[in-house]
């Protein structure tokens, strides 16, 4: 072939050669001197963090279907970031970390993101300090923080310096915890400090095809000999279920969009209320679907013991039905969500009987505690919805420390100082009722649906309430069997058969009597009447009026709540 002599090239011969001459943007060109030289150098420095990266590095990042930090910033906001310390580091390239102030939806947000195309986004002493400065700034100005983590960990050549860098960042982040909220996106493969740091933040969002954790599979293999994929070790499925990740999403774009959405529900800092949003959804809108839902459930063959999905009740209450669920993949027997009611952000904590009867176990207790603490710190009022048969008993739960987990939930609720309402949907028994935002624990208002079954104990309570009756019935059994046997023998039945038959009859009688007592218990005690009589419930609310009643009461409570940082002594335990 004649091609032999041809060398390949990617140069378009028709394109004029690129201009290398520099002029100050906007200035007419004229003869240049040392001043222009300085200007050019300055301009190059500004561009350096973006331009100095080799294309191979960017391609590597893109090959993994990941965006560069600059591309991620653009998804967060169409406005250009105000980059801080852009030439930090001895290569003047920003040292593999971008920190900036970004305007998102008109709000100032402090943002950081590892630049994986530079030194794999690793941390050394200097950029640990850079992170700390951003955190301090966020805390000082009272603006929320978004982190885009994509770091290989400590920069090994930096030695102990890298570790110190992490320590400095850890400390700074802890110091602003509770002052400003933070949202952490987990991109790429973060291990060690790269995992701890983001988890110090308020919320962690993890997309698919990412890993974070103590160490990667390689180390696990070498230390424990275990073969495990990154996905199985620290993928979104693992962290979504443990609550280490609050939200799991499909990809990076979804993570960033979710972060922005989440931001719309949380305040800038602990001194102010979350953003108010005028609503066109009338507060007196009837909540018909709650009625439909309950009717369908309670009129079904399994009657009042039918589980139902509580999210529809939350949906019905919120403005236009829009709400935002947190930790949706974990401990689904409780739903924690942000929503708006009459424009005000409200936190919802609702037992979901559709999952495991709504029983509170270690996971759901911690999930509630975590959410309630956040709302409490950041001036977010809470509506609790109760429909649980209680704490989950058993060996497994005890060994996992249900006492401590349940206590954690209880304490978090006792501590709440923001407006708080309890709405009892159905089941509210015993310890679960006692620890779940009732009047004595500090509720501002307790409301109940007519379907409420507030009692000291669930159906098993008949053993205590009707102790005497039961003793009498059971005591009569022996007599019945004896008499029955005698009668049967009289009629000519054989001894053993007569006894068996009599026992059967007695057992049936007993079952009937117990059922009758069960029904009596349900009728007499499993209802809201006692609660109303004792002032444990303020009033009954109809399922169709939920939005109006809750909305008006919440508005009243908020009129008399002044947002501010939490005061008072630090309590033991969290």
């Amino acid at each position: 072939m004649s091609d032999k002599a041809l060398k390949p090239s990617l140069k378009n011969p028709f394109e004029p050669p690129e201009k290398v001459e520099f002029t100050i943007p906007g200035e007419i060109s004229r003869t240049t001197g040392p001043y222009e030289e300085a200007m050019k150098e300055g301009y190059d420095l500004i561009q350096r963090p973006i331009r100095s990266v080799k294309i191979e590095q960017i391609e590597k990042q893109h090959f993994k279907k990941r965006m560069t930090v600059w591309e991620r910033l653009k998804v967060l906001s169409s406005q250009a970031p105000n980059v801080l310390y852009q030439n930090w580091g001895k290569n003047l390239d920003g040292a593999s970390l971008v920190t900036a102030i970004l305007t998102i939806g008109g709000r100032d947000v402090a943002v950081y993101g590892h630049d994986f195309t530079v030194r794999a986004g690793s941390i050394d002493a200097t950029n640990g300090n850079k992170l700390a400065r951003l955190f301090n700034l966020a805390g000082e100005k009272g603006i929320p923080l978004i982190g885009m983590n994509d770091s290989a960990g400590a920069f090994v050549p930096a030695g102990v310096g890298g570790l110190d860098g992490y320590a400095e960042a850890f400390t700074a982040l802890r110091k602003i915890s509770g002052v400003v909220p933070s949202v952490m996106c987990m991109f790429g493969f973060n291990a060690g400090g790269g995992s701890y740091l983001p988890r110090q933040g308020s919320f962690v969002i993890q997309p698919n095809d990412t890993f974070f954790g103590l160490t990667g599979p390689g180390v696990v293999k070498s230390v424990l000999g275990e073969d495990i994929t990154p996905e199985e070790l620290g993928g979104p499925k693992v962290h979504g279920q443990s609550g280490v990740a609050d939200l799991t999403v499909a990809d990076e774009v979804a993570a960033l969009r979710t972060a922005v959405r989440l931001l719309s529900y949380i305040p800038d800092n602990n001194s102010v209320a979350p953003p108010f949003q005028e609503t066109s959804d009338p507060l007196d809108r009837k909540t018909w679907e709650t009625n439909t839902l309950l009717k369908k459930a309670f009129n079904s063959p399994t009657g009042f013991n039918t589980p139902f999905d509580v999210s529809i009740v939350i949906q019905q209450i919120c403005d236009h039905g829009d709400y935002f669920e947190l930790q949706p993949e974990r401990a689904k027997e409780v739903v924690t969500a942000f929503g708006r009611l009459g424009g005000n952000v409200v936190g919802f904590v609702a037992n979901n009987s559709a999952v495991a009867s709504g029983q509170i176990d270690c996971d759901s207790a911690v999930k509630i505690a975590r959410f309630v603490r956040f709302c409490n710190i950041y001036n977010i009022p809470i509506i609790f919805m109760e429909d649980t048969t209680g704490f989950l008993p058993g060996r497994e739960q005890e060994s996992r420390g249900i006492v401590q987990a349940g206590r954690s939930m209880l304490d978090s609720i006792v501590d709440v100082r923001t407006p708080r309402i309890l709405l009892i949907l159905r089941n509210a028994y015993g310890g679960a009722y006692a620890s779940y935002n009732n009047y004595p624990t500090g509720a501002d208002l307790v409301l109940a649906l007519p379907t409420t079954r507030l009692a000291v104990m669930g159906p098993a309570g008949k053993e205590f309430v009707y102790k005497d009756e039961l003793r009498k019935i059971r005591g009569a059994m022996a007599d019945m069997v004896r008499k029955g046997t005698e009668e049967r023998i009289k009629c000519g039945m054989e001894g053993d058969a007569a006894k068996r038959d009599a026992e059967k009859e007695a057992a049936e009688w007993l079952k009937g009597e117990e059922t009758a007592l069960n029904q009596r218990y349900e009728k007499e005690l499993m209802n809201p009447k006692e609660g109303l009589a004792l002032g444990s419930i303020s009033s009954i609310v109809m399922p169709t009026d939920l939005r109006q009643v809750l909305g008006e009461n919440m508005a009243f409570l908020l009129r008399h709540y002044k947002p501010g940082p939490m005061m008072g002594p630090q309590r033991e335990f969290h």
Binding site: R66, M67, K74, Q277, E289, G321
Partner: protein, 959 residues
Amino acid sequence: MNDLYMNNPLIHRDRRLGQSASEWVRSFACEDLKPLIVCRGPIRKEAMDVFEEMGISHYGILLSEKDSIVYANALAPELRQLTDSNRVHRVPDYTGASKEERVERINQIIQIAKDNGYDSVFAGYGFMAEDEEFVASLENAGLNFIGPNSRTQADAGKKDEAKRTALSVGVSVTPGINNVTARTLVRKHATRDKLLGLVKSHGLAVDATVLNDKTLSLEDLADAILYASYEKGLDLYSIEELSAQVQVEVANMFREYPASRIRLKAIGGGGGKGQRILGASLLTAKNPTDKQVKEAAAEAPTLVREVLNEVKATGVGDNKNVLIELNIEQTRHNEIQLVGNGEWCVSLGGRDCSLQMHEQKLLEISVTQEGLALAIEKAKKAGRKAEVKALESDLKVLKRMEEDSTKFGAAVGLDSASTFECIVDRDRYYFMEVNTRIQVEHRVSELCYSLKFTNPKNKNDFFIVESLVEAMALLARHKKRLPKPERIPRFGAGAEARLNATDASLSPHAGGMIRYWSKPIEGEIRDDQGICLVNPDTGMFMRYKVAGAYDSNIALLLTNGEDRLDSYRQLSKVLGKTTLRGTDLATNLEFHYGLVNWFLGQNVMAKPTTRFVVPYLTLIGQLKEEAAKIDTVYAFIQMKKAYAKRMAEQFPDDPQVGKTMSQIIDRKGILVTRPMDRLLEDPHLLSGWLSVNRKNFTIEKGKVIWHDNPFVILSDTYEYLNMCHDPSAPAADVIWAHDNELLQKGLSFYATLSGRFKLGMHEFDKLSALLAKEKPQDGFSAEEWAQIRSAHIGFEAGLELLGMLFLVAENVKFWDFKVEDDLEVTIPTHLHDAELQVRMKKVLVPPPATKADEVVAVCGGMYYGQEAPGMPAFVHEGMHFEKGQPLYIIEVMKMFNTIRATFSGTIDKIIMQGSDGSIVQKGQPLFKITPDEKFIEIDPKEIEREKRERTSEYLRAVL
């Protein structure tokens, strides 16, 4: 921000006739109409919009409890528009589950209307819209039904009556039997006297002239008697007797029409409901034996029951007539849109709805006389004789259908909108039925014609109606006062794709959540039930749970164009630009995109039959199976090696050239493999891509030869995949910036070069011939020429890989499935193989596999095998269960949790022997089962090895 969604010039306009300067026009105002909308789906939102645009302020909607409580994350979208809760009325569902419930629902609707000041009812294309009883009840209650009156419903809506009416006005109908109930009665009471005895003994009110007419056939007499019995709510025959008669008639028809199937249609059915086809086993039998016929006909009784059940006509006194029709196998499904006021009747062209699956329409396109005439002209000019002939035949049929349909419409006193449905077989058409309601695809016709109503006294005094819903409201309000309108051509063509919640094999897939839907583009009509109405407060998209409580339809996407090609191109653009994101979400968007492009690559004037889709899907499955064997990263690395070797051979003394080449190839890595991976992952996208590129290559001696510039094709491919450079889109969703830079650089090079040679960008054969010459062309200097040729090699290097995609098609004989010159579609016979179809369905959507051979208790608690005492058990041995089916209940702390199957399978043995209420422990085995799909562990290394082997074979054809 919602501009094109909220204000789309194609569908939104001010329709307030009361605002007109003309007194005559003003007299047709409808502002005082107070309609209650009793249907759901996209038509509900459309009616709300149209009524508002007409200035109707007092309209209300029904919200069914069945679907409203499934919007877990937002209120029903319509409520974002209609915030006045006094105009939203709850009903358990729209039609009732039984006959009794239906009657109850009808009364409830009337009550709601009366209590809330509505004077009319709009039923869209809901089941109620075609219910004669419903319409009659409304009329009796003094409510205005926005749709055909009950007389029309009776004459045209019931399939048997419609067929008789059709015959009487000379409309051709499919061969079959429309009076099987009468025949049943005659068989039971075989003489005139016996029949008359029935009248007496039951005290039936039959017209005396009928009874005395001795010339009347027994069957006609029986029919008259039957009608009287329905009036009285009596059954003169049992379903068993009817079924037996149907079986006899079916057997006779099988003998009369060998190698055919037979269709049973309950007279109240529609939209695929209440219909069954039998006789598949006879399709290949030219001379069926008696035994074969008997066996095939034996299915009839079961099917009769099924169809009657589906239309809820099993009660005492229900008309249980079933039409028995020859099933026309190779058919196209065409329908004519009709509008009338009882005195006049106008047709608005036709719609071809042949592209359907399991009787559910997927893609509907307009057929108009103007459009066909234009297409004929074009084909003539291009010298495509076979096409001209085919189109001319179509035009003739269409003309006839339109003429006959208006005759029919006038005969039944049609006073609203209806559809005249036909099947077209070559140059003949058969009338099937009339849908006495507006149809889902009505907008296709709206795009083609508008209605011009002119003052009979002054031809300059007129108004134009572009919406059929608007026309229906006008007709309901002003009826006979409306003069006969003139139909005005609006756009040359319209097309509609039904966006459904179905997976890649088009099976329903409900339960997903839509989290994001890109904004409509210009020229797109998106009828989505309001899903894209953003949160009115925040402007954010509101998540939408695809519940599928009633059907799988999510939205209707429509486009228009000057001709069919244009409307298809526009539809392709709309589908391509649509991004739907969500969780557990599956839609047929990709299917549509692939299909529309398949036609664009073949011929949009094609005449596919109703049997197109299943074999097409089978082919798509084969594409997927083949595509899965390619590893693009491996291919890329191998190619890079091959280039290194070639450079080393060509430039043994200059290692720098090899290095340069290696760098050039590296730049192409993501640029080339990323779109390839997208296409290989989704066979629907691949199908469309292959079709539009089918003329851009040939395979000669096992090598792919390009006839279009791969570099330009690559750029087109990014556009096809909606991944063009867009600075406002997230970087991850579009071409990466560095890839775009290179792509643009190359495009600019080829644009300049083609310009110099006065060639188009796609005239690659000529360009490459020129570039092959060593002698500088077109006055370029030797140095320039060398640079140009170097650049050509540089830009094209690495793009060979794209050719592997053609080979995938070649290997599955993709091109054998094609549109012929006479517009008929050739479907390779092997794609009709039922076994292959089933296997490919599984390739498209692998069913959940499990290693388990037991079902175990999910948690500890008390076990129940039935929902409540006295109710049937959930499972029994030998039973097959589907994924999602309830298997048992576990009671935990007095709460009854229904546990559903996570995969499908068969119950071999029930291990759980305890009675209801027995305690089970977590993990305790309950049933022994055999899963439908057993999980088979395959060594990933083995898969990788096979993939590489196969990829290497592919590489041989392109390197």
